[in-house]
Symmetry: C2
Subunit: 406 residues, 2 copies
């Protein structure tokens, strides 16, 4: 069993970095706050005797040697970046639980056969740079390094520049690390475990995600003298489109999701009809065929509104992360651990994307979930019970031991 | 008659300051560009022999002495600030036409009985600081100086700070100037004169305007794991409200206007359902009773959506500028001038707010309009014909002479 108090106090200490008045965290990727979080994490890892390596994407790897250097390491970890109005648990829990596993092994004087590594991936959240999970995506060959470096935030800063600015563009080449297995512990970010009164979710896969940029173009004009019937108002034109997007989610209920997270008018001025609206669309479904159907329906909706009354509507898909099934042997190792530890548990599918999605393409991977209050996440009030936090770390420790010992 | 070429070339020179690639102007109030525009205007006025005074609101006054210092001056002018994606004519035309009147009087060696003053009002547009026409509003006692100084832009900079930053918080006390009459020449910013093939509009009044801040509050949550039926999505909740606002405009067609110029989600992130949307609403109508009815209907709409499904909807009126009727004698002086000059003309009501709205409360006031292409304004492609620009300045000159000579 891990030292739960140490883990909890480290989580609370890390939550100070970018801590918000409402008790949440704003430690957005590649900001000064992210740098401080990374610095602290590296210090803790070094104190625990780990060797640090930083790759060209700014992904952080902390290695604890095993008895046999010829064996591929077991990977554990998640991400330290947060949403702008994020919580204390999303991501950071998986990183610090992995550190706690290594510290517990140190305390117990256990040397595993295979080495063990902790990872903290760059820009998992996708809140500043699209897409989400780009650090693990580049690591596993889903995106090129060049593609990632060129992604821009809303201010026009590229990811490459932001890495340089905080001094975390590492030297270590991408893709030269291979692992025997990968395990990530995370809060569920949804309401299922809480409703089912389970402390642990054995995660068997992740639902599919498609991200789009929707642009509705009209013509900017004065709010006063221009008669309503002469306007090409993109706000007015957007309403039925967004309505249909929400209906699309309803049509494929209950497992479908549709989210309009951002709307940016240009110009954004009280007394001017905007010339255009830039809108983000996030569609999800656990089944590949249904997500594809939603994708085609969305395109139909758009084409139906395109060029009506001089309004130009365009849709660009900027990311597609198909549904993922995790590796059977890692799932079984987790399942065996929760049974050994006798914690209430259930199998489930993740509603959020995670770095494990990309990891699973190159390494046998699975995840461990713990409940969070009201299923609330991407919210400053995000909350997890200490008991569940500790249970999850215990399951991680036991699973890692099983996998690293043979 | 004025020197049309001089006027035109000055307008084109001023349009360089904040000039945009699309041929428009971005000279937003109290920015560095606005400062440059003010500096250039003051230089021109001084070269024309005028005395400059700047009041505590940053309003600029340039005075040409008359024969009799005991008479109240005739005021002409408008504003030099622009929309962020504005045109070369809105506001600046009225200021530089007034300068051209003074230069023409210089050329013709005419000294009027009453003094003549040019004014350029601070923040007419209301694009950066609310409300519009705040410079003339403070001048005429509609708002206190303190209220104006405390208005904030989106970055949280106050109008008072912005005045200090560009060095245009003047010494001259507010409200110590009185005028015999005030005339403003402006582009119509609407399609009527063009449609009616008239070069001059004799403006008899201005329609009423009401500005609101609409806030729709839900609960931020993760775009993936949170099921649709558990969400309190402010974007989804906003759609029917905005629909009803557009229907409200239709109900009082054809003279009503409803504009949703700005929508700001918080947070503004792809994979998070926002916690709230801040939306601006601009309602207009030329008749006071109908604008009031629209106001009450809007409140009914809001109350009907308030607290449905855990969504909180609030509406705050932040500005009300009732319909205005201009002064009969100034209208008649303009009418006589257009008849003398034999330019095609018509009487009309302004759809846009203007500084003359506030001036008319303390001074006999009226306006002169010229057409603009497609009625387009608050747009970089805003365009007026040189011939109309010169006609408007001629009418201004003749009207000012009538009023300043008795
Ligand atoms: N875990 C998490 O919040 N990931 C962000 C990617 C997503 O949008 O699902
Ligand atoms: N003339 C002009 O564009 N004024 C801005 C105030 C308004 O919104 O009408």
């Amino acid at each position: 069993k891990v030292n739960g108090e140490r883990l909890w106090s480290r989580m609370m200490e890390m939550a100070q970095i970018g801590g918000t008045p409402k008790g949440g965290v704003c430690r957005v990727t590649l900001t000064e706050e992210d740098k401080k979080g990374r610095d602290l994490f590296i210090k803790w890892c070094e104190d625990a005797g780990c060797t640090i390596e930083i790759d060209q994407m700014g992904n952080l790897f902390a290695r604890r040697a095993g008895k046999r250097a010829d064996l591929n390491p077991i990977l554990m970890g998640s991400h330290l970046d947060s949403q702008p109005t994020g919580g204390k648990y999303d991501g950071v829990y998986g990183v610090l639980a992995a550190l706690e596993v290594i510290e517990s092994l140190n305390d117990l004087d256990i040397v595993t056969e295979a080495p063990i590594e902790i990872v903290s991936w760059t820009n998992e959240e996708g809140a500043r740079f699209s897409p989400a999970m780009i650090g693990s995506g580049v690591f596993t060959g889903e995106f090129t390094l060049e593609y990632a470096y060129n992604q821009k935030d809303k201010e026009g800063v590229t990811l490459g520049e932001a890495l340089d600015q905080i001094g975390y563009k590492g030297e270590f080449p991408i893709g030269e690390r291979t692992y025997a297995a990968s395990i990530e512990v995370h809060i569920e970010q949804g309401p299922i475990l809480e409703a089912e009164k389970k402390s642990i979710g054995v995660v068997t896969g992740v639902q599919g995600i498609r991200w789009y940029d929707l642009k509705v173009k009209g013509k900017e004009t004065h709010a006063g003298p221009c008669p309503m019937h002469l306007r090409k108002d993109p706000v007015k034109a957007t309403l039925p489109i967004l309505n249909e997007i929400y209906q699309l989610a309803e049509q494929f209920a209950p497992d479908s999701r549709a989210t309009i997270g951002d709307i940016v008018p240009t110009p954004a001025v009280r007394n001017t009809v905007p010339s255009e609206l830039n809108i983000t669309v996030d569609l999800r479904h656990p089944q590949s065929e249904i997500l594809d159907e939603m994708h085609y329906r969305l395109q139909e909706i758009i084409s139906q509104y395109h060029n009506q009354n001089g309004i130009e509507v365009t849709l660009e898909e900027i990311w597609h992360s198909p549904p993922v099934a995790f590796a059977q042997d890692v799932i079984e190792a987790i399942q065996a651990s929760v049974e050994d530890l006798k914690v209430p548990h259930m199998k489930m599918v993740s509603g959020a994307g995670h770095d494990s999605v990309y990891l699973s393409r190159v390494t046998p991977t699975a995840m461990i979930f713990i409940p969070c209050e009201d299923g609330l996440s991407h919210n400053e009030l995000e909350k997890a019970e200490k008991e569940d936090v500790i249970n999850g770390a215990d399951v991680l420790l036991n699973t890692a031991l099983k996998l690293a010992m043979y």
